[in-house]
């Protein structure tokens, strides 16, 4: 697959939120305001890309060579958890500005299944390092796009008259469903 195809596929056609159901928790949790959505989007992009590259290297340099593929899940999740901690510490020291922008979202990212999901899928698809990076960036941008789109909708829904039992998460899920139909329209692109 060409890099362009991978990019388009992960952003639009197989959008990780609307078609692959990864990263739904933060998608519901932080999508009520445009501003928090943007902060989360940037933090996820950063961590997913970094985690994909590192797990790719670990898988090919260590696990495959030693025949330890069955430790994949446990190793990847530990790498991601440590990476998130490390990024948090590093940002605090190096760039307080950036830290204040995305610091609060970082702890939430360990349990964002998109980070682990993208890392595992990259290996399953047999991507090389460049394809892995492309897919990770595309996946994060797709997540970012989904988050910002739904945040914009939720800001409008706040002032709409919604039945009591549907207010909050239920109506957000239904809106996400309608959005997912729209994204299904990209199916033939790649």
């Amino acid at each position: 697959m060409s890099l362009f195809a991978i990019m388009i596929s992960s952003i639009l056609v197989n959008n990780y939120v609307f078609a692959r159901f990864l990263g739904i928790c933060p998608f519901l949790g932080v999508s009520n305001k445009m501003e928090t959505a943007t902060g989360m989007g940037i933090a996820v992009t950063f961590v997913t890309t970094l985690a994909s590259v590192i797990t790719y290297i670990i898988q090919h340099a260590i696990l495959n060579n030693l025949g330890l593929q069955y430790l994949q899940t446990i190793v990847f999740i530990l790498v991601i958890a440590s990476l998130v901690q490390f990024v948090e510490l590093a940002l605090k020291k190096i760039s307080p500005g950036l830290y204040s922008a995305m610091g609060v979202y970082l702890p939430l990212i360990t349990t964002n299944c998109m980070v682990l999901g993208v890392a595992i899928l990259n290996i399953q698809e047999g991507f090389n390092l460049i394809q892995t990076t492309t897919n990770a960036v595309g996946a994060s941008l797709g997540f970012f796009l989904a988050l910002v789109l739904i945040a914009a909708l939720r800001e409008k829904m706040d002032i709409a008259d919604i039945p009591e039992s549907l207010a909050g998460f239920p109506i957000t899920l239904i809106a996400a469903g309608l959005m997912s139909i729209a994204f299904a329209g990209f199916a033939g692109l790649v």
Binding site: F18, A19, I24, T73, C113, L173, I174, A176
Partner: protein
């Protein structure tokens, strides 16, 4: 703590999917058929109960500072075991659940029970809590799977229900259907069940 309270909490009052809305990714992804829903439920109950038991056993020896990494290692171990057994003995299910089996690791439900329950309670109660919460997950997932399979494929557990002439509404097995049906299900739960508990 009474066991019946645990089950009432897990299945109704604090239902992980319908009330707490945690672990939604796998809920949306694997409910396109009832069979997948049942398979995923079994995997979640197994991992949740076993990790609750082990963490409860270890609770006195785990240093507070590194408890989260240790919980993650324990959970990941059980997830990998479930993954291996499924691959060996339940191949079709393993294939259709795909990446969502390893992703049980990051299902916030399991880590949340480890942190808020198993690390503070005895082994037996923790095991019961695992089963109760797992059943709460299963109830929601199987309900969702039933609605989606009947409307989207016109079948239940793979058996055709309406004969050849029925044209299923394939939207319901598509990703969009997952979001919409779950939204409506939570709405219904809010309207009928939750109200009655709080009254």
């Amino acid at each position: 703590m009474k066991i019946s309270t645990l089950f009432k909490n897990g299945i109704i009052k604090e239902n992980p999917v319908l009330v707490q809305l945690i672990g939604i990714c796998s809920v949306l992804a694997i409910t396109n058929t009832v069979e997948n829903s049942l398979g995923m439920s079994a995997a979640v109950i197994a991992v949740l109960t076993l990790s609750n038991i082990v963490i409860s056993l270890m609770r006195k020896f785990i240093p507070a500072k590194i408890r989260i990494p240790i919980f993650i290692v324990v959970i990941a171990t059980f997830v990998t075991m479930v993954q291996m057994f499924m691959n060996a003995y339940a191949q079709p299910l393993y294939k259709s659940l795909g990446i969502f089996i390893p992703l049980i690791v990051v299902n916030c439900l399991i880590l949340a029970r480890a942190e808020s329950f198993a690390s503070k309670n005895g082994v037996f109660v923790s095991a019961m809590d695992g089963i109760a919460m797992g059943l709460g997950y299963s109830v929601a997932v199987v309900a969702l799977g039933t609605v989606r399979e009947i409307l989207g494929s016109g079948s239940f557990l793979g058996m055709s229900l309406f004969g050849e002439s029925f044209q299923p509404i394939s939207l319901f097995v598509a990703p969009a259907g997952a979001f919409i049906v779950l939204g409506l299900l939570i709405g219904l739960f809010n309207a009928f069940v939750k109200k009655r508990i709080t009254d």
